[in-house]
Symmetry: C2
Subunit: 261 residues, 2 copies
């Protein structure tokens, strides 16, 4: 049954690895995809790293990967900004709260970084977030800037357990300015459709694989892409029954048997 998919969109944390530890079945699975030249991309809401850095991390874990196979919420943000504002002269001005991965993606499309009268406030996870940054974001938004956020994750996994995710930073900013953010990452359609273009396979023949119901599985459901829930991360399989919309498939973990092997 799963053997009929011609492309795979694979979540990372909780699906391919947990923190700094690879999930053995998933490593084996990605090797099988690579050997058979089945198109696949890694799709992550993590906005803090560049695709090259994430590919390096994967390779250190013996997961075959190139930067061109990694699609992040920062890249989806850059694509959104480019499509939304077009190619402008003068270019888009943004007040950016975020880490290297987001800055890198926005630099590539020529965004001007400024806190003086920006067109948009663009927010990704930022472990050096402060009240002062909140003040600048609020002021820009009250002056009419748009609020764009890479993702709404409440928490992020870390070596020391859960840490506050970008959703919590965005909540502070949205509350202070009384505005509704535009989210880009999973579970939004936008990021899934962008990764599909990268992959080049039709929706119905592509499988989106992830552990987190609220981000991964809902992303597939929202974009009309078949989904596989794996019980190796955030959402236990037992919780799926409580959900209104079910993933297309649900399995204990990623296994090469699913490819008909």
């Amino acid at each position: 049954m799963l053997a009929s998919y011609h492309g795979y969109i694979l979540d990372l944390d909780g699906t391919i690895y947990k923190g700094n530890e690879a999930i053995a079945e998933s490593v084996h699975f990605v090797h099988a995809l690579a050997e058979r030249r089945i198109p696949h991309v890694f799709l992550t809401n993590n906005s803090s790293r560049t695709p090259a850095e994430i590919a390096e991390k994967l390779k250190r874990m013996d997961v075959p990967a190139s930067a061109g196979q990694v699609y992040t919420s920062s890249m989806a943000m850059a694509a959104y900004v480019r499509e939304h504002w077009g190619v402008q002269r003068p270019p888009v001005r943004a007040y950016v709260i975020g880490s290297r991965g987001l800055v890198h993606a926005l630099e590539e499309i020529g965004v001007v970084f400024t806190d003086e009268d920006p067109d948009a406030v663009i927010v990704g996870i930022d472990r050096s977030f402060t009240y002062e940054k909140l003040v600048k974001a609020q002021r820009a938004l009250l002056n009419g800037a748009a609020l764009l956020a890479t993702n709404a994750d409440r928490t992020i996994p870390s070596e020391n357990g859960y840490m506050p995710g970008n959703g919590s930073i965005v909540a502070a900013i949205a509350t202070a300015a009384h505005v509704t953010p535009t989210f880009i990452g999973k579970p939004e359609r936008w990021i899934v459709e962008q990764s599909l273009s990268l992959l080049g396979t039709p929706k119905a023949e592509t499988l989106l694989v992830g552990d987190n119901y609220d981000t991964d599985i809902l992303a597939g459901i929202n974009a009309g892409v078949p989904t596989l829930h794996v019980d190796t991360g955030v959402t236990p399989a037992a919780e799926l029954t409580k959900k209104d919309h079910q993933p297309t498939h649900s399995l204990t973990n990623l296994d090469v048997k699913l490819l008909g092997l």
Copy 2:
């Protein structure tokens, strides 16, 4: 009509002064209350200053006031913690995010300040809020601490326009830990009932005066205390018609004629 009230609960910012500028009619009004020995307290959601500091500010503006007449959301928080946890041995342990006014009020009731396994995370406006503080708050809450917040104000007025209020800081924390905060300040009943005890007048004979519908007027409505809206601050009188529940009275400003003078 208004002359029949025997006690007054007066909001500060937007009602007695705007930022650092006194509202002339209100200064005159407070003088009239003081001369006639009509009981009155100043009730503010501002948690950053001590009552002595606020009384000093009022006196600099020629508003007669003593520290004993000022009731802040920090004082209401201390009263809540004392009532909720009682007099404990060992005392209540709290991770506190906030300013001098909140620290002062909690010190007075013997709270132990710690980020190690606290009973509560207590949050007031903190202009030195950081991601690191958010991390500590989240960890404490995921370990079972209660989340208490002085107030939910999205914004606070300042010399430079609006600044992010405590509600925005609390939004970040509540989102990261996926918990619902307990709010203490206006529009909650608790703070109004505490200020009534200080005043000593019955609810029906006490008038709560304020400019902000969502904090002041709703506080009175929630606590069952008659209210007077003044059109000198946040909520324009024209907006009142859109509200489900109306203040008892609405006037352009505080005027001694209201006391039958």
